[in-house]
Amino acid sequence: MISVLAWLVLGLPLLGCVILSLWPGEPDRRVTRVLGVGMPAVSFVLTAIIFATFLGRDADDRLEITTLWNWVQSDGLSIDLSLQIDTLSVMMMLVITGVGSLIVLYSTEYMEHDRDYRRFFAEMGFFLFAMLLLVEAANFFFLIVGWGLVGLASYLLIGFYYDRPPAVAAAKKAFVVNVVGDVGMVLAAFLLVRELGTLDYGEVFQTAPEGLGMDTGVATAVALLLFVGAAAKSAQIPLHTWLPDAMEGPTPVSALIHAATMVTAGVYMIVRCNVLYQLAPVAGDVVAVVGAATLLMAATIALVQVDIKRVLAWSTVSQIGYMIMGAGLGVYDGAMFHFLTHAFFKALLFLAVGIAIHALAGEQSLDRMGGLRRHLRLTHVAVLVGCLAIAGIPPFSGFFSKDEILATALDAGSLGVACAIVGLIGAGLTAFYMFRLFFRAFWGSEPEGGYPHAPHNPGWAMSLPVVILSIGAATAGFLQVPGGWQLITDWLEPTILADPGLEPTSAAQWFVSIVSVSLAVVAIALAWWVFAADPQRRLRLAAAATGPRAVLADQYRFDEVYEEVLIQPGRDLGDALTNGVERYAVQGTVEGVVRGFLDMGRGLRAAQTGLVRSYVFAMIAGLVAVGVIFSLAMR
């Protein structure tokens, strides 16, 4: 039964997408809403049933592999169209369908004024299908297929407003950067086929210790190449440049794809491949370092961003850095726990901020916001909850998940300690910039001249998801309480086949908790002092630090460097090839052939004089020639 449910969960969003796409003409909005929200919602219910069924089973029994048919059967490689439903994939599926359904519901009102209503929900359905395929796949082949399809969905949704050049450019950028990641994944798959002869998860993870060996070049290569894919999809350095630009898409898209689900695919993959990463400690260290570096860098950039969605985007990059760092160190349960809480509070923040943007008729700049708490009360509370969660203030969820990672990291050698310190610094920065956003948008005074339209409160379709996510952001932390129970770790245990066995000591946990909370409180107070207490103070301080601010505002110039080093040479190469090879070799050859034929024709035409006598003469000349030849031959 679980098999059937698994396929339905995967297929229903796709079905919704197909029906919406093929509907002749513009379907009635109610139809679009029913299909667009109904399918993901049903998928969620079915996923919940799978979850409940699993709960009723023993821990070792929580695994179902279901195959439709054999996809590729060639000499030495067999790939099936199969799904693997285990605790890890169920966890992902719950978030994808659950948060996904809430966000799609929210979109029914948010996208109300858009004339491409149907296209939006079709593309969202397609995205959900692709993401579910990614997490339900039972082998690397379909993981990569899902990976690519998710990238396509992202492209379509980022470029939803396709008549806006910045949106189109952002979509292209996202896709191109992700292709780099795809190449890494595919190369890793090649290595796996060559070394192990299979792409099936079960077989790979079983034969890897033998087939790849411990700490060998091949093992490290596979792990690193897979991480290239993860880095691209999860926007880690240096493949992170696409995520901030992806904010060009509609806010629900940012919430679902670029906060809660797609960007976490990298984390999922690393956790899924824990066996491979345990075989390649060097790769694991690289992953952790990249995660830590990204975490810190993104937090610093978020300090000076003016576009409210960009703040959240860089915050996402930073938080995923936490997850990646944790996964690299081997804190798999911590990384997945943080994924769960982050899905709640980041989606909550995006949707709540979306309400504000919607209420202000599209305004996204913090410079033109202020005092919204007087107009949007519910939203104000929701954003507050989200900010407290992300800042790691107990008892909100972010506190538990973030500290889980950092405390366990302390048990992971000297690199772990260094990462934990970085993480703590990042926590402080996170609290600061999130409350900067909160105070500037919701407190203080309204921007000069007031608001052009009075900000209006949203309807139930937008409010209900926000409320539900707020509850999740507030309470999800209690799934794993240090010194109490660890539901997440227990749940994931069957899938973490190569557990490094890191255990946070209670001393470590107390240390991390106290330091992180203290830093957060200090940061929040500082933010209040700068942004809320005296409205002019921030301007004075900003004027004093223009140098560093400029660097941060430019996002450390990554885009400019890429433009200089990669893109412009690419363009130059294209130009050179066009002018050199294309014009002369290709076109020249083709034209040369044509010209040759034309010349030949023109030459032959000279015989067509139109004069009778020349034709007669030609005949006679032929006759003479024949006669001469004959007479010579006869001799």
């Binding site: 035409r605 067509q608 004089t609 139109g610 004069l611 009778v612 006598r613 007669v616 003469f617 006679i620």
Partner: protein
């Protein structure tokens, strides 16, 4: 008409005093060359056709000459057919000349070169 041949009681196949075939063919060839010269040189279509008649006639002479050489009637038959064809050709050709004349175009074969190119 065989009176010309009935000079003495010669049997069929016996050589008799007369003109060898070679000479007849020489005349035929000469007429052919003259006709050729005319075709290649003349610009008036009428004069051109006259030269063509010469060519046809030279062919007829050859046919009849050889017919006599082989002692068969086939050559005569062929010559008669050639004459019919010549007649038909002259009809059409002169019709063309008249048509051209009616169009007020120059009766100059060199100027009738719209098939050029």
């Amino acid at each position: 008409m065989s009176s010309v041949l009935a000079m003495g009681t010669a049997a069929v196949g016996d050589p008799q005093e007369g003109v060898p075939l070679a000479l007849y063919l020489g005349v035929s060839g000469g007429l052919f060359l003259l006709g050729l010269l005319g075709v290649l040189t003349r610009r008036n279509p009428l004069l051109l056709f006259l030269a063509v008649e010469l060519l046809l006639n030279s062919a007829n002479l050859s046919l009849v000459g050889f017919s006599r050489y082989w002692n068969v009637t086939d050559g005569h038959v062929f010559a008669l057919v050639v004459m019919v064809v010549a007649a038909a050709e002259v009809v059409i050709g002169l019709g063309l000349v008249v048509a051209v004349f009616r169009q007020r175009l120059a009766l100059d074969v060199d100027q009738m070169s719209s098939m050029k190119g």
